[in-house]
Point group: C2
Chain length 314, copies 2
Amino acid sequence: MTDPVVLISEVGPRDGLQSITRTMPTTAKQGWIRALASAGLREIEVASFVPPKLLPQMADAADVVADAIRIPSITVLALVPNLRGAEAAVAAGAHKLTLPVSASRAHSQSNLRKTPEEAVEEVRRVVALRQDSPRSFGIEIGISTAFGCTMEGAIDEQWVIRLAVMLAEAGVDSVGLSDTTGYANPAQVRRLFRQLHAELGDKAGGAHLHNTRGQGLANVVAALDVGVSTFDASQGGLGGCPYAPGASGNIVTEDLVFLLESMGLDTGIDLEALIAARRIVAEALPDEPLYGHLPEAGLTKGFHYARDASGARP
Amino acid sequence: MTDPVVLISEVGPRDGLQSITRTMPTTAKQGWIRALASAGLREIEVASFVPPKLLPQMADAADVVADAIRIPSITVLALVPNLRGAEAAVAAGAHKLTLPVSASRAHSQSNLRKTPEEAVEEVRRVVALRQDSPRSFGIEIGISTAFGCTMEGAIDEQWVIRLAVMLAEAGVDSVGLSDTTGYANPAQVRRLFRQLHAELGDKAGGAHLHNTRGQGLANVVAALDVGVSTFDASQGGLGGCPYAPGASGNIVTEDLVFLLESMGLDTGIDLEALIAARRIVAEALPDEPLYGHLPEAGLTKGFHYARDASGARP
């Protein structure tokens, strides 16, 4: 068995669950993460190490990480707002950390109460923590509001790339671009990721795209064209950014997997098992809407996975 | 004022309204078509000339065409199932006719009670009608189930192209490809339209794509890459194919215009006027769901149209 061609990083248990007001019980989170791993997801962002008084939905972050790292097939990712959060996530055993850095100064202030440069400083502290740590861990950043901001409108593209270079030089493993607010279009996605690859080489990271204006998968096609091979997505489209008004709508993992597999790009994911995992979310959060076209319409007649391309067609 | 770079052919008044059980009153249809034209749509498929006992929603086809042709800015398109429908549509004054031809033999039988070859024969009769007609009119075909069929599964791509060549040789003006059932993926869209252009040259027509599995705009991006410049879409995503089970979901005109304009491709359409036109549909068909992400999320801050690209950015 070979590695998938495209890596889907499932962000539902963190990004999804922190965007809604109700809290999913810890055992349901653990069951959901196991179901996602069983469906073939190889990377899952499972928790956010923020003070429980700010995000009570994430109060069990350490327990969730501690359980997730016992699943051998997945990379366990945690969001940490700062050095203190990083220490807690590392102590819990997270494999990889991600920190918030936003290209929009207004979004950075309202979301993090930091300038982008101060956010990069915080990243440097976490890189230093890793240098002193007995156990290594990954550090990756997805630059928020990289394609536009509900507060500032257009964001200067050269500034986004400069910020990415600053982060790479700070010592992180990869820097991706996030369309936090659903502003991206395919032409811009191609332009920015091309520049990112040119400047950062193999430190250029993945795409975190939103479907706020229905453009999510269109932007995925554009990103694939310029060599992006890691995509964030959320089961049932749960989540978005609670601090950016109107910025709901992660791309739906189910629809993304169908897109990629139909195009002949192996994701390693089993769609029927993935769709079955929705039941765990629906039972634990009965009032939360779950999105996705594929789960409604079902697989196409004669559908086959990219990895079975040699198999018989109907 | 120059012509738009991309032509959007609005199919809501025909494809949309014939797919639902309720009938929109004639005056509402006329008002909706006028609102769509005022929003900048240059081509509208307004009616279907089928026997009223089969589709009572389209019983007023002649009246709708007669009113629409008085709007100077639009090309008025009508669907006709056969020579008899073509005669009625031409008598009513339609500028352009489209006939159903399906690549899937099973879909062709269940939808048209004809083989694909018999459907091409019917097209030949309409071409002959044009040769004998004092007034000229356009004839274009979009091959249904070109990307797959709910009954047959995969459809042989070489057969689709052979059928397109047969139609071009029959004398129609253009032959496009329709994803009637929401089966298309971007790799396939590129492959098939590339072949279509290679075989048909300037008779290669547009793309009719569905969002049944959430892939509609992703497929548009792929089609743009290989030179497709005409796209069918439906306001509010109304419609689909009533004879292909589960095949709902035209792409939403509002979301498509936003995609294209954001990419810098002029459509000639005003999004605010287009969104305002939804009210006519909502009032005439209060129980009918209207889809679209853009109408929910609103335009992005600092959004500007492709035709205003020289204007100040925020």
